[in-house]
Amino acid sequence: MISRIPKTLIFAALLLTHISTFSQEKKDCATDCSCIISGVIMDASTHEPVPYATVQIKNSEKGVLTDEAGKFLFNKLCEKEFDIFISHLGYKSVIHHHDIYHPDLVVKLAPSDVILESIVIEGSSIETGLESMTESKISGKDLESMQNESLGDVLSNITGVSTLKTGQNVVKPMIHGLHGSRVLIINNGVRHEGQGWGQEHAPEIDAAMADNIALVKGAASVKYGPDAMGGVIIINPPKMELSTGHLHGAAGITTATNGRSINTDLLLQQGYKNFAWMGQVAGLYQGDLSAPDHILTNTGARELSYMFGSRYHHKKLDLTILYSHVEQTLGILRGSVVGNLNDLDIALKAKEPFFTESFSYDINNPRQEVSHDLVRLKGHYNFKDHQLNFQYGFQANTRQEFDVRRGSNNERPAIDLELFTHTFDLDWQHAQISGWNGTVGTQWLYQDNNNIPGTNTIPFVPNYNNNRFGIYIIESKALGSLDFELGLRYDYQSSSIRGRDTENDIYKQDLNYQSITGLVGVNAQLGKNTSFRSNFGTAWRPPNIAELYSYGKHEFTIDFGLWRHSTDEFGTPISSTDVLDQNQKPVDNELGFKWVNTFNHTTKEQSLEVTAHFNYLKGYIYSKPAGIAATVRGPFPFYIYDQTDAVFFGLDASYIYRHSTIWESQIKGSYLHARDVNNDDFFIGIPPNRISYELSHSKSLLGLDEFSAAFETSYTFEQFNSPRVITVAEINDAQLNGENLFQQDRSNFDFLPAPSGYLLMNLKLQGIVNQFVFGVEFKNILNYSYRDYTNRLRYFADETGFNMLISARYKF
């Protein structure tokens, strides 16, 4: 570790030299009336440029028309900010409060005959450092039609994204096969911190609160810090626009037949000259879901979330404050609880899950009750051509997990945790220096995790405090049609850990982790319609709390964390009652090296996007089978956390063909291959390959302003690259004969083979009249019974069957 310190110093020195060059500042453009603003106006539906649109600066005589390419330019301006008014016949006009600090203004004008709102995209700060990264976005109409879906399910509409589920309510997004601590979520601008260490812990976020969700497929650690090995999910709240003129908002309701659920949401916002506010609330009430042949007992859910924000704008200063709250009660299939291997075997062979009862809204054990609160204060200050951004976020997260237990313990959570996180971000977007644009920033995170007493079981994870500091620089420069991007970051984390071992004795440890990450990228514009992006980035994360300290039975396996197991004199893995430490057993950071290449070709008729990705993970932490432990409940396979090296590579592709202004076809596909290169083995739970085809139709019809229909069919392949299968009977036989199944071969195994491939069909209809949007959606039209390889409850139950959703939305 000591050998790394000089590198840090060099880095700091580099930063200082860099900052000192700012002293040679340019003159303020307002003093000599040389301020410039430019932008491009596009059609929001076709993404084609809109020529001859009128762009005016309000309260002035200045006005221009866009050129053939939809571009406009104002120069010789004496002010740095103003309201601009954009209009064109056949489009909804837009007023936008703009300043010179956002150089790349893009306005997507909505045709006046559709409900779509016009969208203004400022070259906003969130995108710096991601210019060469592949980004996908879900927004507007697409997001609105998924109001009752979990964040993970919403994201799985993007190629390369899949889900790791525990039943239907607990859904974790997976990017290119990585999830949990390897996918970073930026929620409302703040690193989302929750109990993400468990496979059965979904992010405590309500997708209904988002205005748009962006997904970055590259390793974006330089910008955001540790954990961004698979990618970053950026969830943005509705933007608080100034000068909206009147109260804006939307109210929606969705009901679904499967689960007999109701989902409602309301958004209100208004912007004045230098003040804006917004408020929104959403709720979900869901009963037991059903598979084609049986009810999924205890899969109800409740969700309540709300958010308030206000924005103050004064010349150079812009301040926003935001508060959001999410609370969820999530039922988990009752039939997924098993006591030992024989129970599991009986459950595997059963036609329907145990404890299956008739439909109910009740949520009993097992269930999770989680909440997440966020207060965020954010501001930016513009001076000369620089911008200073600062942000403070406070997050409070609680998690209670109720298991099926004996007696009054049934009323007590088996896991009861609270987590408080403070984050400070400060960054400086500097003015252009000899063609270089960039940002220098720092982040500080302080975290406090506590077990709440009263669970009547030894805490599964210890109490801990994390202190993390990071500093980074990202610079980009244009050379002809190429944009280059470079970045470097240093992070240091110290943790204090206090837990209880199996004998209720206290263990305490202090851990330090640090790492340097970097990125190199290029964004090439190859002609008018074609672009190519290539990005190579490194990422890191320290081992998480469960990977280090897990001990004992969890569902139907026994897990021992990296510091809770060792080997006996014969090299056989055994559990360790003493908690090991960094000296006895060094555990290094997990390091990721991800290379993402995206080719995009878009014309009026068609769009093609192909992304090839390759990720090498050094010190990849996973749990592998190590033996059979005899317990009072009978024999159990036990798993140990270990580190290996892994490669994940694959291809995402999407192709859209616009047959006419009415008909459109879309083909999407993703391929992924993952391998443990040290042991030449496959991992469990790698998402299978998938292809889908969608045909959509959009037209004004039957007195509706717009009528659209989309038919989607998707095929998910069987995961052929899955580990060997060892059945419960084989484990029991070996145990009876005194054989050790894992002595010779410690490769991964699964109790069942991966489920076979399946074909699903969905149909979505939508009609728009004035300010109303009505929708009907049919999911799994054929009511097909199937099991999903990346659903952890696939041993016990089928996925949900036919579902009809009816929705109505009013916008004003």
């Binding site: 006591g339 404890f355 099926v404 007696g407 079981t457 004998e503 009072v632």
Partner: protein, 200 residues
């Protein structure tokens, strides 16, 4: 709006308060009374006609850990009537938690099933009540729950002539599903142990 703003302020204050207190903490989780684990099971056979009780114990010193458990072999006299009392404990680490009472109090959710090989007993006859459909086989249960259904912490056994075999006890947790027709294949397993047994 002012109310909203003062809420934000209150939350910020709360945030900073938590932050201040959090900075100095190095507390370990409070000691929990471990009520989940059963690691010691004792079978006490007492001759009904009088005599010394015989206790046979299974003990897994580290619970879910990989240490091998110690298990006595059961040795009983031939042609003798025994009452059998089963006790369940958690003794991992410094614990000494008796879980027997808990199971008894929760009798309507628990049942112990028994299975054995060969002709070990003259009463009950058969091979026990483990397995789907076998719940109807008669055993000499001496205890019952609030609904009049057997629990199995107290039973009576009459040994046959000398022989050897195995004796299995299976404790099932059957919340809301224990009934006259529920079998050893319903619910979750809390204890599943097989003992070597010799009738001398």
């Amino acid at each position: 709006m002012t109310i909203l703003k003062s809420n934000f302020l209150a939350l910020l204050l709360l945030a900073s308060a938590v932050f201040m207190t959090a900075c100095s903490d190095d507390d370990a989780p409070e000691a929990e009374n471990e009520e989940e684990v059963i690691n010691e099971v004792t079978l006490t056979f007492t001759p009904v006609a009088g005599g010394t009780p015989l206790a046979f114990t299974y003990n897994d010193p580290d619970g879910d850990g990989t240490l091998t458990a110690e298990q006595d072999d059961i040795m009983l006299s031939a042609n003798t009537i025994y009452s059998l009392a089963i006790t369940l404990k958690n003794t991992v680490g410094g614990n000494n938690e008796n879980i027997t009472e808990e199971v008894k109090n929760e009798g309507i959710e628990h049942q112990i099933f028994f299975g054995w090989t060969g002709a070990l007993f003259s009463s009950p006859t058969g091979l026990g009540n483990i397995g789907a459909g076998n719940q109807v086989n008669t055993l000499n249960y001496q205890d019952e729950d609030a609904n009049g259904l057997p629990i199995g912490l107290a039973t009576v056994w009459e040994t046959a002539t000398p022989t050897i075999g195995t004796f299995r006890i299976l404790l099932k947790h059957q919340p809301d599903i224990k009934s006259a027709s529920s079998s050893s294949e319903d619910g979750e397993t809390d204890v599943d142990l097989q003992w070597n047994i010799e009738i001398k």
